[in-house]
């Protein structure tokens, strides 16, 4: 699974909010760059780009090199539209006229899917100059809408440049080298949403490859069955114990909860999405977070590298 993700030409990363989409996308990008691929990591129309915290510099519309072989950018609607209009109309003065006209801009703003198709087609055009383009998509609900837009646009616009562009984008999305990765967490609600998202992708984006699932913040099982049994027996006596003993048991219970949640989550994901699920180890104390975004990315990158080297 990891091999396919790393080998893709165009990789979309999505998942429920706060699961670590940006971190995973960045870690994959770093890995590819490490193997001498020229990689572009893209954020879509984000007013507060999440990549800023990872690379300590804000991504602009033009790709900016942040490491060897690795560049980042933030594709904003206004700039992508300008590119789009220039490509279609070819006369700068006329494009300026459209952009200055409030009614025209409102019209474009209100046109369903216009925003997404313009941005997606910009993403696709970037494939010409980069070995790999990785897109940090918005959270699952919205991501589906974005990827479905070429279909909707083709239906709505039966002729003209958008129709043609939508066909091109659709063709790229249908290619085997285009992948979608969904990041999940060992929490019931997040797993539910991941499985639902998988089903929606199968139904709404049948032309795309089956998505790959990544489990973030997994806790490896470490308590033996006997230890678990003993913990349970101690818990049964909890009511008559002192505050200190209770707090110790509480702590043990957190660890157990995290480990069992990982087991349950992994099992459900495997049942729904297939056996090959890559998981990242949880950092920090119990449920807590550790370090800043750049440390998290560095750690994930190290884990991916280790896995790749082991496979070889």
């Amino acid at each position: 699974m990891l091999e396919e993700v790393l080998g893709s030409r165009l990789l979309f990363v999505s998942g429920k909010g706060g699961v670590g989409k940006t971190s995973f996308a960045a870690a994959v990008a770093k890995t590819s760059a490490h193997f001498s691929k020229r990689v572009l990591l893209v954020e879509i129309d984000n007013f507060y780009p999440s990549l800023t915290a990872v690379f300590s510099t804000a991504p602009g519309y033009q790709p900016k090199m942040v490491e060897k072989n690795l560049a980042i950018c933030n594709i904003t609607w206004e700039r992508a539209l300008e590119d789009w209009l220039l490509q279609t109309i070819k006369i700068r003065r006329v494009v300026n006229m459209i952009q200055k006209n409030k009614i025209a801009m409102l019209f474009l703003d209100a046109t369903p899917g216009a925003r997404e198709i313009v941005i997606l087609s910009k993403v696709v055009s970037l494939l010409d100059s980069w070995d790999q383009v990785i897109v940090d998509l918005p959270a699952s609900g919205h991501a589906l809408g974005v990827l479905r837009v070429p279909v909707t646009a083709k239906k709505l616009m039966r002729s003209g440049p958008i129709h043609d562009r939508a066909s091109q984008v659709l063709k790229v999305l249908s290619q085997k080298s285009t992948k979608l990765a969904i990041v999940s967490l060992p929490e019931e609600m997040v797993v539910n949403e991941t499985i639902e998202f998988m089903q929606k992708v199968a139904k709404g984006l049948p032309f795309m490859e089956k998505p790959d699932v990544v489990l973030n913040r997994a806790s490896k099982p470490s308590l033996t069955p006997d230890e678990l049994l003993l913990l349970e027996r101690l818990e049964a006596e909890e009511d008559v114990m002192g505050a200190e003993a209770r707090e110790l048991l509480q702590a043990g219970r957190w660890e157990r909860d995290l480990e069992s949640a990982t087991g349950i989550g992994l099992k459900r994901l495997k049942e729904a999405c297939g056996e090959e699920i890559f998981s990242f180890t949880r950092l920090g104390n119990l449920g807590g977070y550790k370090g800043g975004p750049n440390q998290v990315v560095q750690q994930m990158y190290t884990e991916i590298l280790r896995k790749v080297k082991n496979a070889k």
Binding site: G17, G18, N101, M157, V190, L248
Partner: protein, 383 residues
């Protein structure tokens, strides 16, 4: 809300309580908790929720009740004076109902619902359910059927989306765009002719070139049908905005004790203040507490461990004791980290605002008894 409020007062006096915050912090469970507590106090409550975790929905008996108000059976937790109702929002249905209500006649309605563009508009604009939440809210509040409504807001990437949602539709049918269509007299043909011959003709010819002429015509027809609904949208927009600022409405920020969720909470604190919307404070959910430092597991549990592990494999007791010691160290560190983060957040609070903390539950809250337990933390332990 002059002084530091109590949660009890709040649900006794308010009519609308809106829970906002990042995704995954437990907004749905907390909305249900607050609703249940209010019902226990004798009020008639509606919890309006969007796509809750399936098990919570099941425990509230909410599975197949899209967009209908359903009474929750509270008999299993004793004799309850009030009533608890719940409803899950169905964005698309709400939107269709709205078109139904605002359309002047059957023909306008059908023409809109059958329009090619309508479908994708419901997907792009309404698919984000925050707008729909405010629509439905307006309906149930104005119905006067409930003493208190608790709204669990949809998780939004951009936290402002929800606060600004009443304006969303109104912006979409922006005055300038609408006026442009409104000035032309009836008839789709005329509108298209105007598109291509009026003062902006060159512009629209260009747009036609970019988008395709067919599409331009489709959208012109859509707008011409839609303009009849314009006034209706404007009215509702103003009404929902007034509702957000009403004395009996308040926003409750819900967050979890980690950086991403706290950042969203800070953001909401600032934005609510800027918008002069009432906000009694923040509920920090899913907290870990540790009261002791450097606990020696052996000192407190060795005896019981030895006794209870006689039939288990050798070293089980010593291994578990070692594990508990390590786990507790981590719990203690985590509790300190969370304390520091929460302290940082509390700097953003005004004098009259307060902070409620709720301990993380083992497992996920998925039945009425679980909700009562959380409620005890929120209403009993902290008051």
């Amino acid at each position: 809300m002059q002084s530091n409020v109590q949660m009890k007062e709040l649900i006794q006096n308010q009519k609308l309580l809106i829970c906002v915050g990042a995704g995954g912090v437990g907004k749905t469970s907390l909305s249900a908790t607050i609703g249940l507590q209010a019902a226990l106090m004798g009020r008639k409550v509606l919890v309006l929720t969007i796509d809750p975790a399936k098990r919570l929905a099941n425990s509230l008996g909410l599975k197949q009740f899209g967009n209908t108000e359903t009474q929750i059976d509270l008999s299993q937790i004793g004799d309850v004076k009030g009533e608890l109702w719940a409803m899950m929002l169905d964005g698309k249905k709400t939107f269709n109902d709205l078109i139904d209500k605002l359309s002047k006649d059957e023909q306008t309605k059908r023409s809109i619902l059958n329009n090619n563009i309508y479908q994708s508009i419901t997907e792009t604009i309404v698919g984000n359910q925050e707008y729909m939440a405010t629509e439905k809210l307006y309906d149930v509040v104005s119905s006067g059927r409930y003493d208190l409504i608790v709204l669990d807001t949809p998780p939004v990437k951009n936290a402002l989306d929800f606060l600004d949602s009443p304006g969303r539709m109104a912006r979409f049918v922006d005055k300038r765009v609408m006026k442009w269509f409104l000035t032309s007299k009836k008839g789709e043909k005329r509108i298209i002719r105007r598109l291509l011959a009026g003062s902006s003709a060159v512009l629209f010819k260009l747009l036609g070139y970019v988008f395709g002429q067919d599409f331009l015509e489709d959208i012109a027809i859509f707008f011409s049908n839609f303009r009849d609904l314009y006034e209706g949208f404007q009215e509702r927009h103003s009404a929902v905005e007034a509702l957000f600022r009403d004395k009996k409405t308040c926003f409750m920020i819900v967050c979890a004790p980690h950086k991403p969720a706290l950042e969203v909470a800070e953001f909401f604190l600032k934005e609510l203040k800027k918008r002069k919307m009432r906000n009694p404070g923040v509920i920090v959910n899913q907290r870990h507490f540790a009261h002791f430092k450097n606990l020696n597991a052996k000192a407190f549990l060795q005896e019981r461990c030895d006794e209870l592990s006689q039939d288990l494999s050798a070293h089980t007791a010593s291994m578990l004791l070692a594990r508990l010691g390590v786990s507790h160290k981590r719990l203690h560190r985590l509790a300190l980290e969370e304390d520091a983060l929460v302290l940082e957040l509390s700097k953003y609070l005004d004098k009259q605002q307060r902070l409620w903390s709720i301990q993380r539950m083992h497992g996920e809250v998925h039945d009425l008894h679980g909700l009562v337990q959380v409620g005890n933390q929120l209403f009993v332990n902290q008051e």
